[in-house]
Amino acid sequence: MTALRNHNCNYISNVKINFKFDGKSYFAYEGDTIASALLRNNIRLVGRSFKYHRPRGIYTCGIEEPNALVQIISEHNEPNTRATIKRVYDGMVITSQNRWPSLSYDFGAINNILSPIFSAGFYYKTFMGPKGFWKNIYEPLIRRSAGLGKPPKNFRSKSIHQNHNTDILIIGAGLSGLIAARKFVNTKYKVLMIEQDSFLGGILKNSNKVDTINGLNSSEWLEETEKLLSKAQNIKILRNTLVTTYNFTNHFVALEDKFAGKKIDLNKSELTLHKIRTSNTILCNGHIERFISFRNNDLPGVMLASSFEKYIHRYGVVPEERPVIFTNNSSSMSLLNSMLSLGCKPEAYVDSRKNEEIETDIKKILKENNIPSYFEAEIEGCDGNKKIEKITIRKGKIFIKIKSSMLCVSGGYNPDIHLFTQSKGLLKWDKNIASFKPDTPFQKTLTLGSVSGNYNFNKLCDEINEKLSFLNTAKLDFEIKLNVSNKYSIKELWETKSKINSNWSKSFIDLHNDVTIKDLKQAISEGFDRIEHLKRYTTNSMGTDQGKISSINSLAVVSKLLKKEISEVGTTTYRPPYAPLSFAAIAGRSTYEFYDPQRKTSIHSWHLKNNAVFEDVGQWKRPWYFKTHDKETMHQAVQRESKMLRENSGILDGSTLGKIEIKGRDALEFMNLMYTNAFTKMKPMTSRYAMMLGEDGMIKDDGIICKLSDQHFIATTTSSGAPKVLAHMEEYLQTEWPHLQVYLNSITEQFSTFNISGPKTREIMRKVFPNIDFSNEAFPFMSFKNFDYKDTKIRIMRASFTGELGYEIYISPKYGLELWEEMFSCGREFNLIPYGTETMHLLRAEKGYIVIGQETDGTVTPIDLNYNWMIGKNKKDFIGKRSLSRPDTSREDRKQLVGLSPINKTDTIEEGQHIVELNELPKKIKNPIKYLGHVSSGYYSPNLNHSIGLAMIRGGKNLLGKKFFVTVSGKTKNIPVEVVNPVFVDPENKRLIS
């Protein structure tokens, strides 16, 4: 009944450590996994199942574990950790999952009794109505009762990424991986070997199947090999690293746990995500044992036979002195040997094979040790309360009941084909091993050892030499002597039948997701006879273990039900990752402040000092508004800034605006093609507001184009549009018009740009630049000039986005802050204020200027905006021109830009609201409501003292003076508005050109 210690195991240390599980303290030895430590303390019940909350124990000894998932409280609450691979350290705090209020008394277990309603497809069939119930009642309820651990809290990962380029990648450092690696010692090949465990050796440490290799006992050979490999300069080994993903062109993702068996140091990166490129891949990732379905095959105490053996050899713990062994293959001989050598005798041996099919070696051992043996027999089921108490064996028509608390099951070995199929390799059904094995690789992929379906150790060296013969390596010949029979034999057995019918008794095909054989039958009877449909309908093998011990079994069961061959049923697609991959590892350092670069202008420090509140525009930090005192709200600040600017003057840091220099012999022709405007007749040293369209005629970007000469232009773009515009120009230049001699250069960062505007601006400019003539005659609207300023040069352009008299100043960022401060010291007497993007948006809306991405959404043409004057109609061609005359683009009833003014001046027009004909929305909407358009911009104008809106309305151009209604968020009563000219302030441009 209790666990024993195997003192012959050298892999576990004698250092005792302590950990807590569900509040109680237990001991472990250094090197223990959570599972081996729990078994050492005779803990069998470790969790509750996903759907039915059935008691579950430790089923395996590795990555394939479907049951023993725990939550690590001492590691940011890390959920769904496989107890079978996570190593214990001193002070670790662990809890079980998916139980309430406690593991041994779980209220959710009532689901098990209610199981008829949780059968296949229950998510799809149940909870269909009434409306709103799913969101408010069903889903929260299901989320609480079904599911696994809880997500981590306050977790800040320090995971990093690392890249590798290598000639040979060996995955798995078991016997075949090690032999393969030895072939590469001190060769010209760069080799990377990856092992998921903390140690090398695989089968050599998992069992005592291998006696000697070349006369050395297996641990000596392993030591020799490790020395050889670690000395080799061309071989690198990653331990505690799991390959999760095999992509195209031999690209891999592997996850390394840097703190396996140690308490995480919060100042170091806990995980490393390796991204690997290799020329050749050698898969040596072995096999995984599968289970057999029988009645209550999920009870704590049922364990895979080779896992039981692993606990003995790797962790020195014999989980139970007298278990029952149930097998359909020859692999159990090794377990028998291991147990008997420790003086443990199985309670019974049950083999589904016929007497004559069973190896004589096995029969001999059984007889010599007087082990009750049942051939051509099977386990009908087992019973017990939260653990196995009684096991029922059926031989023919006879039932034998045996008292035991553990049952070791082996349904055979499956080559671990997951990575091979991820690489798009082809599989083949092999009758001899009753499993799928790799057949044709799609990439440069080799499989060696048991993953290739070769369970024959004698032939291992030949296989490796032959498969690696295309590479320049020496032939190796190791003589491998075994303690067990070399031949692997198996007889297909997937499920055993039971007569007992109760809601408690279940025969599981997927332990993780609580899918039973009955569910598969039901799904097939409902018509889901394709394996991919069946999988999704039943959620079979869709758990975090991806059905590693059970998916082949389910294919077999389904093929029997459908009366087809397994190879006709096919497998489902194996998708990465092989095992759960933490989001923290995928994100790496790209989190929080490292998520995206932040771009700051040369004036940023001044903005900070002057209480700017920032807005993200692309990667840029732009002042949104400036607070004059702590209690000033955004609305108050923006109203103040907007009013002050139209009365005095304001200055905006416009350095983020994109700037592209266009130079070359054919610059003029190129600009004429890229933009809607005509640049030919434009005078040098003048500028123009211009639009860039896509080939579909829709507006892509806008900006001011400065023409220095026919061979030299500077284009400004929106702050976030700069890279797109440059890429768009570059594309056409390279692909469509390579004959044009034009060079493009991004110069956004080469200038600090200030936009100063307002009626007092000219006086301020005169004070800052006393030598420059700012009169209307000398410096008209939309002209620009270059000047010397101190020991640098500046460019000043007369332009405005607020509708007021305005200038744009371009200066080297080195002098930016200095000039900015100079402007304020000169501007103080004129009440010059800094303003942010929100005020800019408000003022331009008052003036009816559009913003790309606000009025436009990729479906708006310049004609829709009444910007026909911008279109160079006499130009033969420009990008998008032809599309403007397409029937759909020239429709009269397209959404067009208009202004909206509320009829009741106290009403607020909200951005994003709909424009309708109804003054009130019906309480229940039965028929669609006629939709006329939407409000694209809505602001409260401090200069008009009422709310204003810009809107895109169907056929809007012809609706001036019409009255409609604008919806209000959260209300059914709409507000009445009048369609007006979108230019609310200074429609005659008197201020602009003053």
Partner: protein, 116 residues
């Protein structure tokens, strides 16, 4: 993540590149002379075959040069890369390439099947 050999820089990770859709779609010389239908074909319609596909790529996080590639869309294998000025390779050049990773599955899932 595939590897792409930029004809100017050499082999680089796919993440450095952007795809530019079908290649050899030439912008009409005189768009005004085209019917609405023909212009619409040029602007909105592209081929999307399973198998051999001539497409454009740009080394957007590198030299920013555009180039052409022939890719087998069913295997993601890049069969040929050539500069814009180079001649379009004949499709017969690629007749021996794989149809899909493992042939068209009769049963089972989308991208691989099981051989008997």
């Amino acid at each position: 993540m595939i590897i792409i050999k930029c004809p100017y820089c050499g082999e680089r990770d796919q993440s450095e590149f952007s795809n530019g859709g079908e290649a050899h779609v030439v912008r009409p010389n005189n768009p005004e002379s085209l019917s609405d239908k023909d212009w619409g074909e040029y602007v909105f319609f592209r081929n999307n075959p399973k198998g051999i596909f001539y497409e454009r790529w740009v080394h957007s996080h590198g030299c920013k040069k555009w180039f052409n590639a022939v890719r087998n869309t069913s295997t993601d294998e890049i069969l040929k890369i050539y500069k814009l000025k180079e001649k379009r390779p004949e499709i017969t050049e690629f007749k021996n390439c794989l149809k899909s990773p493992s042939g068209e599955p009769k049963v089972g899932s989308g991208n691989f099947t099981v051989k008997k």
